[in-house]
């Protein structure tokens, strides 16, 4: 019987090795799998490359992972927040490498990894510093910039409901990067607030088919905390 349900968060991250690339879902607090990030922190892996839209805030989750110097590199679109002090300090000290990627390129590069696309061209960043070092190519007289996929060893995402095959549905705008990160990682781990019987999710409304998910862990539903706004 296919059963992707694991009993504990700890089990779900136990084989994340030093040096791994780990995608972390979420936009602001919505969809941020803080429980899994805390488990990763307790687990101890270091020298990580993290892919997230932001770069941690406050004194929890990803921010603590950065504070504890476990992150070598972060690939994100918007690291600066009102309370991103742990990122700010690590970045300014030079010990944390930052690859800044516009959010649309970030999400499409993640999807590309998930669908076997080795490179693609978009207009975004043409003529800006973020196109430096990248190939420019004209299509029909318009310049486009080559983007490469972002693959990962693990994706840690937060969904709402799931079943033992790993089918997922999300909650409101907490969906954001979850579906594409699930496609892009070798091993996707999702937390859900509810595990339902196989067949209980409407096949028409499954957002992430189980093929993209390797492990799910149930956690209690706790309302997502508010965040300080972008600076």
């Amino acid at each position: 019987m296919i059963n992707k349900i694991l009993p504990t968060l700890r089990d779900a991250v136990a084989d994340i090795k030093d040096g791994a690339t780990v995608m972390i879902g979420g936009f602001g607090g919505a969809g941020m799998p803080n429980e899994l990030v805390d488990a990763l922190r307790e687990h101890g892996a270091k020298n990580l490359t993290i892919v997230n839209n932001n770069a941690g805030n406050g004194d929890f989750g990803l921010a603590l992972l950065i504070k504890e110097k476990r992150v070598r590199k972060i690939i994100c679109s918007f690291p600066r927040q009102a309370d991103s002090h742990h990122f700010d300090a690590a970045y300014r000290s030079g010990e944390l490498e930052l690859e800044l990627v516009p959010q649309g390129n970030l999400s499409e590069r993640i999807r590309a990894a998930g669908v076997g696309v080795a490179g693609f061209y978009v207009r975004t960043t043409f003529g800006t510093p973020l196109a430096e070092g990248k190939e420019i190519r004209e299509f029909n007289g318009v310049p486009f910039v080559l983007q490469e996929p972002i693959h990962a060893d693990f994706a840690l995402i937060k969904a709402d409901k799931g079943d033992r095959w790993g089918n997922l549905v999300y909650r409101k705008a907490a969906r954001n990067f979850g579906p594409v990160m699930a496609m892009a990682a070798k091993c996707t781990v999702a937390t859900v607030h509810e595990i339902v019987e196989l067949g209980a999710l409407d096949p028409e409304a499954v957002i992430t088919p189980g093929i993209f998910v390797k492990r799910i862990v149930q956690i209690p539903y706790v309302p997502t905390p508010g965040m300080k706004s972008k600076v």
């Binding site: 936009f27 918007f78 600066r80 516009p102 959010q103 999807r111 975004t124 800006t128 997502t224 706004s229």
Partner: protein
């Protein structure tokens, strides 16, 4: 007498046709939503994967799984939908949004936009969805003060700050005027009440056609 921020938001709102799909940037642009006439039905897009975003919830009703690009809690209007980030930015990039309204540090007379980085060496960079939005929407409007705090024009021959996008801005809305920018340079659309052309031109770093 120039437009107040509120009047300016109302002026931008006038140029958003009924039925438009619109993305309002963080900060000043967000307030444009408050000035869309009730008879106008527009559809608000949020980069994190929402179409049909509604106003802020009543106090105590906030759900931080339902937030806008500025991470503020919002609501949904009837007809709303959720989608993932790659589809959300695909909508932008392929020109499915009718209008986006962004803030800016500088706009060039050709329509180049600088709104993500001051170029300061010690600044922590952050770009978010600005570059995708700027080049993606059918029309990109900029809403900003006409001059900096020190009095320098924010409408410039060439942006000195790092660019967000090349030639992407269609119109600039400031406290003093509405200007078109583009391949033919800057051109006056409308002056704020009580502002003379000469006063506006005197505060503008490029020649404004009329």
């Amino acid at each position: 007498m120039a437009w107040t921020k509120d009047q300016l938001a109302a002026r931008v709102a006038q140029d958003i046709p009924t039925g438009s799909v619109v993305n309002l940037g963080i900060g000043m642009p967000t307030s444009v939503a408050n000035h869309i006439p009730a008879t106008h039905e527009i559809i608000l897009h949020s980069e994190n994967g929402i179409l049909g975003m509604g106003p802020a919830p009543a106090p105590g009703e906030e759900d931080f799984d339902l937030i806008n690009a500025g991470k503020q809690p919002v609501t949904l209007n009837a007809g709303a939908s959720y989608f993932h980030s790659a589809d959300s930015f695909g909508m932008m990039r392929a020109g499915h949004l009718d209008v986006c309204v962004l803030g800016a540090f500088q706009v060039s007379e050709k329509g180049d936009l600088a709104n993500w980085h001051t170029g300061a060496k010690d600044a922590i960079p952050a770009v978010g969805g600005a570059m995708d939005l700027a080049i993606g929407a059918k029309k990109t409007f900029v809403m900003m003060d006409h001059v900096t705090k020190s009095g320098a024009s924010k409408i410039v021959p060439h942006c000195s700050y790092p660019l967000t996008g090349v030639g992407c801005v269609a119109r600039v809305y400031t406290d003093l005027a509405v200007l078109e920018v583009g391949p033919n340079g800057a051109k006056l659309v409308e002056l704020a009440p009580g502002v003379s052309f000469e006063e506006m031109q005197g505060k503008t770093g490029v020649v404004v056609g009329r």
